[in-house]
Each structure stands twice: as C-alpha cells, then as structure tokens.
C-alpha cells in the first residue's frame, strides 16, 4: 500500500494546532502560539508537523484548515468550520459522544452530534468573554497572579465556592480585588470563577439540550476545576480526552475530513 499523509490545521486566535494522519491513522499533533500572523502560523505549524512526521511533503495528500484563521490560509485544500471539525474529532476519540463542549480562548461552543459524528445542532457564544478562556486568563494572570495550569488544583483545595456576581470580565476583575482585600482565599475565588464559567456555558448547553455522553475539548478542558463545575452544572459526567491533547480535537477532525475528501477523490 502506498503511504500517504493528510493534515488538519486549526488556526485559533491564541494557538495554532496541526494533526497528521498516516494512512488514516493518527500519527502526531502539534500546538504553537499563533502570534500576530495567522496565515503564517498555520503554514509554519503544518510544515513543522510534516517534518516531525518523518514523511516527505510530496506524500501530503490533502490539507483541511479550520479555525478563525482559516480564511487567510491559502495553502488549504479546503476550509471547514471548527464546529464540524470538533464534532468529527470528538466522535473519533469516543464514538458514543453526543454533545461536545469546546471552551476556547475567545469563544465557547456547544455542539450536538449524531451517532456518526455528524453535527445536528450547535450554539456559539462569541459576544463576550465570560464563558471563555479569556475570562479565566484575565482573572488568573492579571489579578490572582497564578499560572493557568494551577487553576484546577487550586480550586480543588477550596473550602467553598465564592460566588462572582459580575458577568463582565472587566468588572469581575474589580470584584476579585475587593474579595481578596476582604480576606477571601484564592482557592475559593478560583472555585467561584469556575462556577461562573460553568454557569454561562451550562446555560448555552441547556438551550440545545445536553445528551450524554458529553465531551469537553479545547484548552480549558485541561482545567479540572472547570470540568468539575460543569459536571455539577449539567448533572452529568464529562469526558476529557486523555490519549490526545483536548486542544487538538479540532485539528484532528479537520485531518479526518481531509482523509475522507482524499478518498472520495475530491479535487483540490
């Protein structure tokens, strides 16, 4: 059998991801910051992923690009939205998945898929930062001065959830400063932040109707505190991919679609 590879590239606003499949099997994935030039970042990450794969570029059969930066990716053979890609990628990792929750840097999405991984409904929150990674980032980095990776552990050590009433990211920061001054612990505040995000995302999810099995994808999925809070909010267990980085699900879905299109003999 001739060997070939396909690439899926997900150019997000904060990070760019690439996944390479070899003969339809997952080979590797890469994540890098996007920086200020999305098209450039997309091309770079795809090329470095190909080099890492050990295969020659001439064996690249098809490339699908997704994410906000897809519109400027001239190297793409086809562009597909992240919604379709996340649905597909999540389904590949766990075929029982019916609901995908992707909390990204700048938006959050809830996607309903059927048993074949095809999207049947979706809802996006792109209006404001609360309910997205930006909300956590700004609080963690600007006010609490803790690294994002520690948020999960810190909220696990909380004694109670200190509710944050401000729905707006900017006003929430002010509120956190007052809470710290009043003697609230970082752990409890972080638990409160997680609860806020879960509340926002939970509302979106309930609009679609949450059907198990539920999976979280995207960077925020790595935060065990948000996962826990969301499980409380939705009343159902949530899976986070372990064999593959949850941030790669979009790129994985894009790669799988690239595989399909190559097999179908789609012209580029």
């Amino acid at each position: 059998m001739t060997e070939y590879i396909v690439a899926g590239v997900d150019i997000g606003s904060t990070t760019a991801k690439a996944v390479i499949l070899k003969n339809g099997e997952f080979l590797l994935g890469r994540i890098e910051p996007t920086g200020s030039n999305p098209a450039h970042a997309g091309r770079e990450i795809m090329e470095s992923a190909i080099i890492d794969s050990g295969y020659d570029k001439s064996l690249l059969g098809f490339t699908v690009v997704t994410g906000y930066g897809r519109v400027s990716a001239s190297f793409a053979d086809k562009t597909v939205t992240e919604i379709t890609c996340h649905g597909r990628g999540a389904h590949f990792v766990s075929p029982d998945i019916k609901t995908v929750i992707d909390i990204g840097g700048q938006d959050s999405k809830v996607i309903s898929v059927d048993s074949s991984g095809k999207v049947v409904d979706f809802v996006i929150n792109d209006k404001c930062a609360s309910g997205t990674g930006r909300f956590l980032e700004s609080a963690a980095q600007l006010v609490l001065h803790v690294p994002l990776e520690d948020l999960g552990n810190l909220s696990a050590a909380s004694t109670e959830i200190c509710k944050i009433s401000s729905m707006c990211t900017v006003f929430a920061q002010t509120e956190i400063i007052s809470l710290l001054a009043a003697g609230e612990s970082k752990e409890n505040i972080i638990a409160g932040l997680h609860s806020s995000i879960a509340g926002r995302v939970g509302t979106m999810a309930n609009r679609l109707g949450v059907k198990p099995v539920v999976m979280m994808t995207g960077g925020v999925a790595k935060n065990s505190g948000v996962k826990y809070a969301l499980e409380q909010e939705l009343g159902t267990e949530i899976i986070v991919p372990t064999d593959i980085d949850p941030q790669l699900i979009g790129a994985l879905g894009a790669a799988l679609i690239a595989e399909d299109l190559l097999k179908a003999g789609t012209t580029k």
Binding site: Y68, V71, V80, T81, E82, I83, T84, D107, K118, V119, V120, D121, F122, I124, D126
Partner: protein
C-alpha cells in the same frame, strides 16, 4: 449572477439615484411625495390622493445609524435609527418626502414616527392598526376600527395634496398595485423549481427596486421581466446541489447586504423568504367584492388580514405560513436573521425553530446582527457551519 440575470436587471441598476432625481423633479413640478416604512400602510391611498408613494426601506449604512443616535439610543433597532439618520444626513429620498405615514406597530416604529414629527419637522400621519385580530375574525370590531383609521388617514392625505380621494381613483390605484403584486408573485414563485432561471436574491432586488420606482413604470418593467423569463429554457444538465434555505426575520432593508452576501459566499441557496421587504407584499391582492363594493372596505380587508408582523399576537398564523413555505419550496434549513434589539422578531425564534424542527425536521440558525461589519467573521463561521451541517440532507 449569471448572464441572464445581469441582462434582466440592468434597467434596475442604480435605481435609487434615478428615482431620487425623478422625485426631486416631480416636486419641482408641484407634486408631493409621501413616505412610509411598513407594508401595512395602503399605498393605494397615497396614489389616489395624487401623490407619489415611496417606501423608505434603506439600511445597512452605519453612518446613518450613528446619525440616528441623536434621537434613539444605541441599543435600539438599527433600521429605526438609520431611518432617522438618513433624513438628518440629507439622503435624497428621505429628505424629500413631504410627509410620512406610519403604521402604529412596534415600539421602534412608534418612536421613529415621534422623532420625524417633532425633530425632523416632517408631518407624520399615524395609522392605528389592531394587533390582536385573530384568524377566525371573531373580532369584527377590529375591522371597523381599522376602516375608520383608514378614512382618517385618507382625509389627512387629501388635506396635504389638496386633491379629493374618490372611489374611482382608489379603484385605479388598486388595479395597478394588484397587477404589480401578481407580477411580483410570479417572480417569487420561480425559485420553487430547482432549475429556476432567476434566483431569489435577484427577485428580492427587483422587489426592493419597486420601493422608489414610479408604479406604472415598475409594472411595465415587471411585465417585461416575466415575459423574458418565460422564454428561457431551463438547462437540464445543471444540477444545483446547494442546500435550499429560507430567510426569515426582521426587515432586510435595501443596502443591508452583509448577511445575504455571507450566505451566498458560503454556498447557501436562498429560495424563499418570510420578510416584510420580500414576498410578503406580493402575497395577497386587494379583492374588490363586486363592482358596487366600497374600495376602502377592500383595502381594509387586505391590509388588516395579511400575514401579521410579530408585533401582532397571532403567532399560529405566522407559524402556519412558515411551515407552508418550507413544504412548498422544499426548504432544507431556515436562516433567522433578527436585527439586534428587534424585540418582536427575536422573541419568536424559539417557537419558529421548534415548529420547523418538530413538523419538518428542518433546522434553524439564529443570526442577530446590526449593520456594522465587525461581526462578519463570526457570522461567516455560523453560516458555514450550518451549511456544512446540511450538506448531504
């Protein structure tokens, strides 16, 4: 746009400029121009009073919206803000109307009317229209009320033009408008067929061109279109696999192209609509009940009992119409374009989505937007994802 379309539409290009010149000329000759916003206003009365009717339905211009914020706040209907903004900025059509007729419908329209009257100094004739007349027409007093309001409007129009509105003048106006509706309706019916010689978007452009065009001229153009289209043989080899969509929602004004362009570019094929600047006007004719019938009664019947705007309470009638369109036009998905802050249309999204899903397994995508280009990226993603969802249906 294919070559057929560009030939047919050539006479309609730059219609607004031509029409504004015509209007200014007519005014110089002593004629009066009366504007209106909403299709519940019987244009026939304006014609019968010897004046030029103009539907003020332009939009999509953020400068006009900002200019309107002198009056209405930023969190209000963008179309209403731009109506005020256009007049204030000296838009050639808006600033040349001698009066406006405003159907007393949603909050935004009512406020719009007040500012035109009090701040822009344009005489404004409000037309009361009932909002809770139901399908079964058990509220006969609603029709009586509306007839009286029409008579009041007619007398105010007469006072403005100095000409009497006679029965025969109304009948003549009805005749012309009925023919216009018939011709337009034929155009809107073409996209039912997969091999239609004219796409919905272009029929929509033709419908919008009619807002400012002289009625007889418009009728002649429409008759010509229909004749030409009837001659075109559909190309049997072309297979259009694009998903068939219906566009539903708040007013899509002339110049508000953002969402329609995005749908087109994403490969969506709009074939039907349920918007007030689209097929709604053409849908129902004024029926004269016999030669001895009172034309005012006929106008009241037609303008009161048409498909109601969500400002009105008869939701089942709107739902029924949407289900019918989905079936007749073989629609695979609905794009629900609600203008941001449009309280009436936005509140019906869920009911419409649910009925389309439950009765016909048809999905609906909600887009809430203003006229600013800032959200083009996010709307694109939603529309593309929706179309991807429908591929293979």
């Amino acid at each position: 746009m294919n070559t057929y379309d560009s030939i047919l539409l050539a006479p309609l290009e730059e219609r607004i400029e031509t029409d504004s010149v015509r209007i200014i000329q007519a005014k110089a000759e002593g004629k009066k121009v009366v504007g209106y916003f909403c299709p519940h206003v019987p244009e026939e009365l304006i014609l019968a009073a010897g004046m030029i009717p103009v539907r003020l339905a332009q939009g999509g211009d953020i400068e006009a919206v900002t200019a309107g914020e002198d009056y209405l706040k930023a969190d209000s209907c963008p179309y209403a803000r731009s109506c005020l903004g256009f007049q204030k900025q000296g838009n050639p059509i808006y600033s040349n109307v001698d009066a406006i007729c405003v159907a007393y419908t949603c909050d935004s329209m009512r406020k719009n009317q007040e500012y035109w009257a009090e701040y822009l100094g344009v005489p404004s004739f409000p037309l009361g229209i009932t909002q809770s007349h139901d399908r079964l027409r058990s509220k006969t007093h609603a029709l009586d009320y509306f007839k009286n309001e029409l008579n009041l409007l007619a007398s105010r129009l007469e006072a403005l033009s100095g000409q009497n509105i006679t029965s025969s003048k109304i009948k003549q106006a009805i005749r012309i408008n009925n023919q216009i509706r018939e011709q337009l309706w034929r155009l809107f019916e073409y996209p039912v067929d997969k091999r239609t010689p004219i796409e919905w978007r272009n029929v929509f452009r033709i419908a919008q061109a009619g807002f400012t065009m002289d009625r007889l001229l418009y009728l002649n153009e429409l008759i010509k279109f229909n004749k030409q289209l009837a001659k075109i043989r559909p190309n049997k080899s072309i297979k259009d696999t694009r998903p068939r969509l219906m566009i539903c929602g708040s007013i899509i004004a002339q110049g508000d192209n953002k969402v329609l362009d995005i749908i087109e570019q994403a490969g969506g094929n709009i074939v039907a609509d349920s918007i007030c600047t689209g097929s709604m006007f053409a849908r129902k004719r004024v029926t004269m009940f016999g030669l001895a019938g009172n034309p005012m009664d006929a106008l009241a019947e037609r303008y009161l009992y048409n498909i109601p705007c969500p400002f009105m309470t008869d939701l089942p009638k709107r739902l029924g119409r949407i289900v019918k369109i989905i079936r007749d036009y073989n629609v695979a998905g609905i794009i629900y374009y609600s203008l941001k802050y449009c309280d009436t249309w936005r509140a019906e999204f869920k009911a419409i989505r649910d009925v389309a899903q439950q009765k016909l397994a048809t999905p609906t995508l909600l887009i809430e937007a203003e006229y600013s280009p800032a959200d083009i990226g996010t709307i694109k993603t939603k529309v593309e994802a929706f179309i991807e969802m429908m591929e293979g249906r």
